[in-house]
Subunit: 86 residues, 2 copies
Amino acid sequence: ADPDAGRKLARQCQTCHGLDGIATIPIAPHLAGESQIYLETQLKAFRSGKREHEIMSVVAKGLSDEDIANLAAWYASIRITATMPD
Amino acid sequence: ADPDAGRKLARQCQTCHGLDGIATIPIAPHLAGESQIYLETQLKAFRSGKREHEIMSVVAKGLSDEDIANLAAWYASIRITATMPD
């Protein structure tokens, strides 16, 4: 999988999920640093109808297996750090 | 919603998702910093059967609306930062 190709494809994701995978709206999850397998599994679930969302079910239908692998590689390549509240 | 109560409940989540919401295994998503509404929506979707996963569908059935709100408040209270690759 090619994260640079995924980064280009992620232009269509960034309105909601951010190019860096930090979501811009509360109904969308952050994708930054999620694993390759998790991201691929969810995109394929949206594409097949196993998982449903009014936007993602449409978006995923336009993605090939290669697109999905590349998008997953992009978001998986982002490093995240978490800070718990005091 | 009470994030401290959620933190206690999150003991049952931490094997896969981490107490700080950084997942410990690739098939599980990071939850750190996801929004209250996203986390509640997903837990309720697993509870109702709208979203399916062999582990989460079982776990979610044991959660009340209050439990879900508190768990979401805990994971939403964690701050994350993302660093894109060069």
